[in-house]
């Protein structure tokens, strides 16, 4: 019987993130989800890249590895195929997962690798000083868009859905019980599980866009979220600037890469 405390290196706390950063909530939810699923710590691999969230590798009492910037899913693919018994969690920020590693994200979803990808979307590059990323909303003020951003942002959940991922969910960081539920479901899904967490960067994005302190910023992010069931009855104008949350895709008809590769290997070697 594993408890929450078996998954964390308490001596490493307090962590390095800013006060009110959503990364801590994601770490909290992930550790609680691991304890709920009773996966032995030695069978868990947490893969991160670069950026604020990548510093998460320090805290869990599981196997962890840090990849090059944006190459989280590439490394995770190798780990999962080399040892399919491991549970691989890929934790990325929006800069790491969707902007620099965007190509890996779409192809990992398309190939349907059996890993769990969690993207903590704080709408900017936090660690390097608050530059805009591919998920920064139109018109937002960042260090590199002082008068407002003139680019449209990625809708990551829709992107991954279009690439054929069997499990896609999105929630805000304060929606902690759903977040934990989605992590568990994505892990138990045989195939690519994707969760987008809308998180707060109080130090850069919040300050630049005058969103106030951590609780105020979290409330504003919550107000941008529309549950999928309610979004069905809303017009496109009403949904402008909103994020549709909830379980967006849950398919059981797709075979993951590892299984089909193993099947092919057995067929070929039997001849």
């Amino acid at each position: 019987m594993y408890t929450y405390n078996d998954y964390i290196k308490e001596e490493k706390l307090p962590h390095i993130w800013c006060a009110g950063c959503g990364n801590g909530i994601v770490l909290n939810a992930l550790l609680h989800a691991l304890a709920d699923m009773q996966i032995p710590p030695e069978e868990v691999v947490i893969v991160t890249g670069s950026g604020c969230l990548a510093r998460l590798v320090t805290y869990p009492n599981t196997s962890t590895i840090k990849m090059l910037h944006g190459r989280v899913l590439a490394g995770a693919t190798g780990i999962k195929l080399a040892n399919p018994n491991l549970k691989v969690f890929c934790l990325m920020g929006d800069g790491d997962g969707a902007t620099i590693g965007g190509n890996h994200l779409i192809h990992c979803a398309r190939r349907n690798i059996d890993v769990t990808a969690i993207i903590c979307n704080n709408f900017n590059y936090g660690m390097t000083g608050g530059q805009y990323s591919a998920t920064t909303p139109y018109g937002a003020i960042t260090t590199t868009s002082r008068y407002g951003l003139v680019e449209e942002n990625f809708n990551m959940a829709e992107l991954v859905k279009a690439c054929g991922a069997p499990y896609v969910a999105r929630c805000s960081a304060t929606d902690v019980l759903n977040l934990r539920k989605y992590i568990i479901e994505a892990t138990q899904k045989k195939g690519f599980g994707f969760i987008e967490v809308l998180s707060a960067c109080v130090t850069h994005y919040g300050k630049n866009n005058k969103m106030g302190d951590a609780p105020n910023m979290m409330r504003q992010i919550d107000s941008m979220c529309v549950p999928a069931a309610r979004a069905k009855n809303m017009t496109e104008e009403e949904l402008a600037g909103k994020y549709i949350t909830g379980k967006l895709v849950d398919r059981n008809d797709l075979i993951d890469f590892g299984t089909s590769y193993q099947r092919l290997r057995e067929e070929v070697t039997a001849k």
């Binding site: 706390l13 959503g22 909290n28 304060t174 609780p215």
Partner: protein, 63 residues
Amino acid sequence: MKAAITLHEKRCKGCGICAAFCPRRVYDIKPGEKVTVARPEDCIACRMCEFRCPDLALEVTKL
């Protein structure tokens, strides 16, 4: 008392999320300071502060 609240003060950075989202206003916080468990007797052990705490500083045990 419905719950025992453990606050790891060393880990708390005073972001105020627990105080703002607590349904029973158990916590008090002043700007720039760490949180204090002001009214533990009002806690209903929903544990949302524990799960929402970004600093992993709170533990709530149901009694």
